[in-house]
Amino acid sequence: MKKQTFDTRPAGPKPWNDPQVRSIFFQTIAIALVFWGGWVLVENTLSNMESRGISTGFGFLDETAGFGIIMNLVPYDATMSYGRTFWVGLTNTLLVSAMGVVAATILGFIIGVARLSSNWLVAKMALVYIEVIRNIPLLLQIFFWYFAVLSNLPSPRQSVDVGGALFLNNRGLYLPEPLTQDGFGLVWGGILLAIAAVVAIRVWAKKRQLATGQIFPTFKVGVAILIAVPIISYLAAGSPIEWDIPALKGFNFGGGITIIPELAALWIALSLYTASFIAEIVRSGILSVSKGQTEASKALGLPNGLTLRLVIIPQAMRVIIPPLTSQYLNLVKNSSLATAIGYPDLVAVFMGTTLNQTGQAVEVVAITMAVYLTISLLISLFMNIYNRAVAIKER
């Protein structure tokens, strides 16, 4: 009785007319259909492959690969498994991508700033660079660097010889390899010590600046410490490095570290190409900061360099980061063009030779796609975290 007195709302609609019930109902059906569709796809593929006698499963990853790969960051030889070829390809992809991201970022920032330079020549050169590089297909640029530039270096017997230790020819760049001897731990100690000292100085200098307004040349002093301390500890430990110097034997140079021209060509092309896009992103970011900011910092007496570094760039970063992320993703995915010039990346090694030898296309392609997806999502994740750090804090 009481209930009836207080409940003045009209009687609710019938369940099949209730918008909430209906939306839950249809969403449940939609999700069920998606899962069912996925299940049908997988099930259908598997049963079709089985009925056609095609091997399935991931057992092939443990079989002996038996083929050679020219460049491996993880230990590899032909007696190892197909699973190992995956890691070799993956690390090669990650290497060229990481090198490309670093170089493209540095170059892109320099060119983007140069594009806005008040110096006419510098600004126009940056403009020409951007318009030329970003409007030529990347594959052509890779071919250009590989077949037109690096292939025209001298043959091994006529190598460019720098001081009898460094050799450059059309098979690559040969560098002496440092082999650490006993006592190298002291050098590592020196390096760690130097890093710790630089961090301490930075903290101290900041505190002093806040308290007294005096600026301490942290950068110069820091560089000096980072160079000097490891060298002193190196000499104190009795020079515990022996150099493995490359030497010409038989067909080619042996020993030392080799940077193969495939890696160099891919790295140069990816970096230059992506840098032209990053330069435009940087330019747009800087232009997004209102002119009043520059004028205000000028009024405060900040020199041009400091204005750029302390006022403009930090604000521009908020605009730069999101499109920069997609350029990084593009660079990683573009690195799969490696297969055209024989750089042993994931696509060339794993989706190329391994796929061909095992014939298990579905598994290999699925793994490769999952890897690129994972790399891209990880880059996105880190860039989003960074973006959150530099974004405007609403206070």
């Binding site: 259908n44 079709n48 095609i54 020219i70 025209n152 067909f251 080619n252 024989g342 060339a348 190329g352």
Partner: protein, 341 residues
């Protein structure tokens, strides 16, 4: 209400698809007859094996192998459509039913035969892997190649053979794997590698693409067995038999002296082997599900194995390959087809 209708339709469609996939597929022969042509997977351009000319007509020994099958089924060697495939694509194209047979200088190996759901229907060319090397290097035998940098084309059995050979000899090498044969040759002529390795039948053709062919030599060593032949899907024995026996008919025809020129006169032959081959006696065709005169059509329209060889890869072609082991067993080679009877 419209929403519910849409969903109902979706379910109906999905269920429909599902039941349709479960239905029994028609045999390959029925499909081919219904289409009115044979769909054949070949290379995208490999001199002597399968290559389109300037008018778009395909020629080559692999192409003729397909044409012979079409001649056997339809009595028309032109009832073929060709699908150019890369080495990576070829097996998937066959497995998925995109093509009816694959004739793309494909090496017969145990793994391919047993784990890809495919069957090799014979051998139309016995090849082996060799080396092309710059003359200036002064190497005249593959055992001197320790430490060499070697250009390879991706997607072939070559990579494994090479690795096996160098491992067995205790030698080292650096592989550079290119995607296409053009890039491989370019890498070799640019000096990126000392040696180019491929099937011997290809080395001559690749050498002729160099700006100065005399600067390179082919080493005498053959480091692998490469029996190349047509491939069909597993599980359709009728079709498997047809492809296998059309090739055998061509080889038998050469052995019996039947050529495209004399195929009509040979219909009058008294030799019972020739009569069975050409279908004037017995019902050899019916046993395969083909017209009884399929042998006559194959030889008349495409030729016997020797004609096919000479026309595409023989001494008078740019490839200039002598018969070697691809000669008949009666002439010092290893070509030996089971008899038609």
């Amino acid at each position: 209400m419209r929403k519910t209708k849409t969903i109902a339709l979706g379910i109906a469609l999905a269920v429909g698809t599902f039941t349709a996939t479960g239905a029994m597929a028609a045999t390959t022969l029925e499909n081919v007859k219904e289409k009115g042509h044979l769909q054949c997977g070949v290379t995208s351009g490999l001199p002597g094996f399968s290559q389109p000319d300037e008018k778009g007509n395909w020629t080559g020994i692999d192409v003729d192998t397909c044409r012979a099958v079409a001649a056997a089924i339809f009595g028309d060697a032109k009832a073929v459509e060709f699908t150019p495939l890369t080495a990576k694509e070829r097996f998937t194209a066959l497995q998925s039913g995109e093509i009816d047979m694959l004739s793309r200088n494909t090496t017969w190996t145990l793994t391919r035969d047993a784990s890809l759901g495919l069957n090799f229907a014979g051998v139309n060319y016995y090849d082996g892997q060799g080396f092309l090397i710059n003359k200036d290097i002064g190497v005249d035998d593959a055992t001197q190649l320790d430490g060499a940098t070697i250009c390879i084309q991706a997607g072939t059995t070559t990579e494994l053979n090479l690795s096996d050979y160098f491992r067995a000899k205790g030698m080292e090498f650096k592989p550079i794997v290119f995607d296409t044969s053009e890039q491989t040759v370019q890498g070799f002529s640019a000096g990126r590698c000392d040696v180019l390795t491929s099937d011997r039948s290809q080395l001559a053709a690749l050498r002729s693409k160099l700006s100065d062919p005399s600067s390179a030599i082919i080493l005498p060593n053959t480091i692998s067995k490469e029996p190349l032949g047509p491939v069909v899907r597993q599980g359709d024995d009728e079709w498997f038999n047809i492809v296998k026996w059309v090739l055998s008919v061509q080889i038998n025809a050469e052995e019996l002296g039947v050529t495209s020129a004399n195929a009509d006169e040979m219909l009058e032959s008294d030799n019972p082997n020739v009569q069975r081959l050409l279908g004037t006696d017995g019902d050899m065709g019916a046993k395969l599900g083909l017209p009884d005169d399929f042998g006559h059509k194959v030889v008349k329209l495409v030729g016997n194995y020797g004609e096919m060889y000479d026309r595409n890869v023989g001494p008078d072609t740019p490839l200039g390959l002598s018969r070697g082991i691809n000669a008949l067993w009666t002439e010092g080679g290893i070509l030996y087809a089971p008899p038609v009877r």
